[in-house]
């Protein structure tokens, strides 16, 4: 091979990361698990609640067909997406591939941004797919049994689209933490801590403490994008999501700076 080639570009590294992404089976089954959990649980809850709508007054009280069809799904899928984001990065470290990758692309930021971009596009497509499919399937199961919702109603489209966006940023949070921690178990533990444990601890504090913490806690703030009505103790939908997105970006920037500085 003596033909001169041009310097490598970001686009080349994106193509390379896309090949990495599509050429391992774990990509497919982990996304499949997220899809099945996300859509399946939403369908299950929608179907059961619709069935009991006429017999169970607690279900009729404050009936919200949008939340019935989406909340159970994203609640579980958020963890699946975070784990996916973590694994996208840590599989390089656990296999030793990282040394080969960085010997081919020594500009580390280029490599990691390409990886995150490929994962992010896939996560956004799958996340939006889960949001729309869970909504459509849920409403189909509710329709005829109980009042159902449509995309044209106030805030509904924002909630459905927001589900995919929120799942994307949970995935990105997982990736950013994984770049910092480099081990899957540590990354997943951190995500669980941020998502469930620390907000849980806040609830045990006096209201004067717990209310502001719950309001501004990044994941809680991000979840406001999937709220149909605004609770006075929460941030507005896009403001909340914006805060969450900024938080994820800050974690990612710190992670990439450290990635450049540390020994690989």
């Amino acid at each position: 091979m003596t033909a001169p080639t041009r310097p490598y570009r970001f686009g080349d590294v994106i193509l390379s990361e896309w090949t990495k992404f599509r050429s391992v089976r774990s990509t497919y089954w982990t996304f499949a698990v997220a899809i099945v959990l996300g859509i399946g649980l939403s369908a299950l809850v929608s179907g059961i609640s619709a069935n009991h709508y006429h017999t169970d007054p607690t279900i009729r009280f404050g009936w919200n067909p949008v939340q019935r069809s989406l909340r159970p799904g994203w609640f579980l899928a958020q963890l699946a997406f975070a784990v996916l984001g973590v694994m996208t990065v840590t599989s390089e470290y656990s296999t030793g591939m990282i040394r080969t990758s960085l010997a081919a692309v020594p500009k580390r930021t280029r490599m990691i941004l390409a990886k995150i971009l490929v994962f992010g596009v896939a996560a956004l497509i799958v996340g939006e797919g889960i949001g729309f499919a869970a909504f459509a399937l849920g409403q189909a199961l509710i329709h005829g049994e109980a009042p159902s919702a449509s995309l044209g109603q106030h805030n509904v489209l924002r909630v459905v689209v927001g589900t995919g966006l929120y799942l994307l940023f949970m995935g990105l949070l997982g990736s950013a933490l994984a770049i910092l921690l480099r081990h899957a178990a540590a990354g997943i533990a951190f995500v669980v801590g941020i998502l469930f444990i620390l907000p849980g601890i806040a609830q045990a504090l006096p209201t004067s403490w717990s209310q502001p913490i719950e309001k501004y806690w990044p994941t809680n703030a991000g979840q406001q994008l999937m709220a149909t009505h605004r609770d006075p103790h929460t941030l507005p939908a896009w403001a909340g999501f914006g805060e969450f997105a900024v938080f994820v970006v800050i974690v990612a920037v710190v992670a990439v700076i450290l990635l450049e500085r540390r020994d690989a």
Binding site: K20, S23, V24, G96, T100, D263
Partner: protein, 311 residues
């Protein structure tokens, strides 16, 4: 290719891991067209040095460049350096073909290179299988295929024959010789001097992260196998004291012969003749390479140990 030849220059490389000084002010050049052996006992700092060349580890001090540029700034990194550091540095869930494809794509190398290097290392038939099923030898071959992908100026192999069968070892040796004869810079580590004597034209020997020797393999063999002489004589005791007067040392070996270090055979012969001592045997011995290497690296260990005692 005339002014872009692949000269590797390490200057004052220093790397500390906590309390361990893994590489200590190491400077050397590695030149194209020859195989350069990088020798040192376990823990000498060979892998650490190679990781710094690739930019995987950041030196605490010092620099390393290829034709004057840091590897990190290479316009096409895989055309600068191809490295095999670890025979298992791939994702086991990916096929050999896709592993090499993603590397080729990252540097905008033509896809045809993947098939070419697979053929070079003899992995064509296994190319579509997931790499986790590969034997150690196959993994080593895949790592070498990745190193060859960009037809790089510099090839760097960290203990490439570890775990290979005799056929594989012979193949790697031939490959390194061939690459050097094509004008490539070939830098290969080992902790076996005998291995390097067969493949390397030049050796860089380190111990405890410090440079001990940097010379041609021939020079190394000549200078380090400081000859001893086996002497048999009925007047061994008298001869031993004469040897000692002349600055040599005489010791008895387990067959009852005298082993002299510090004087060569002609000097001993003349000494004996002048004193009228009869000699039954006067046989110059050459230390094996492995012995020479062990003595050398032993010195670096002893130096550090005695340094501490002296304080």
């Amino acid at each position: 290719m005339f002014n872009d030849v692949g000269v590797l220059e390490a200057r004052n490389l220093t790397k500390r891991y906590g309390a361990t000084l893994a590489v200590d002010d190491l400077s050397f050049d590695v030149k194209p067209g020859i195989v350069t052996g990088f020798l040192g006992p376990n823990g000498a700092g060979k892998t650490t040095t190679m990781r710094m060349i690739l930019g995987l580890d950041r030196p605490d001090r010092g620099t390393v460049t290829i034709d004057g540029h840091p590897f990190r700034d290479a316009p096409v990194p895989l055309r600068e350096v191809g490295a095999l550091l670890d025979p298992k540095a791939f994702h086991g869930g990916r096929s050999a073909y896709n592993h090499l494809l993603c590397l080729a794509q990252s540097n905008h190398l033509p896809r045809s290179r993947v098939d070419e290097v697979l053929a070079t290392v003899g992995l064509e038939t296994a190319a579509r299988r997931r790499a986790q099923a590969f034997s150690l030898g196959m993994g080593q071959r895949l790592g070498i295929a990745a190193a060859l992908l960009g037809d790089p100026k510099v090839l760097m192999f960290d203990e490439p024959v570890n775990g290979l069968d005799p056929e594989g070892i012979a193949w790697v040796r031939r490959l390194m010789r061939d690459l050097a004869s094509l004008g490539r810079t070939v830098f290969v580590s080992s902790h076996l001097m005998s291995e390097m004597a067969l493949t390397a034209d030049h050796v860089i020997v380190i111990g405890r992260g410090r440079l001990i020797r940097n010379e041609s393999t021939r020079e190394f063999i000549e200078s380090s196998s400081h000859a001893s002489v086996v002497v048999r004589s009925p007047a061994a005791d008298r001869l031993a004291s004469l040897v000692a007067e002349k600055g040599g040392t005489a010791t008895a070996d387990n067959t009852g012969a005298m082993v002299v270090v510090g004087l060569d055979a002609p000097q001993i012969g003349e000494l004996a003749a002048a004193a009228g001592i009869v000699l039954h045997e006067l046989a110059p011995q050459r230390a094996s390479l492995e012995q020479a290497f062990m003595e050398l690296t032993q010195e670096s260990v002893e130096f550090h140990a005695s340094g501490r005692v002296a304080q």
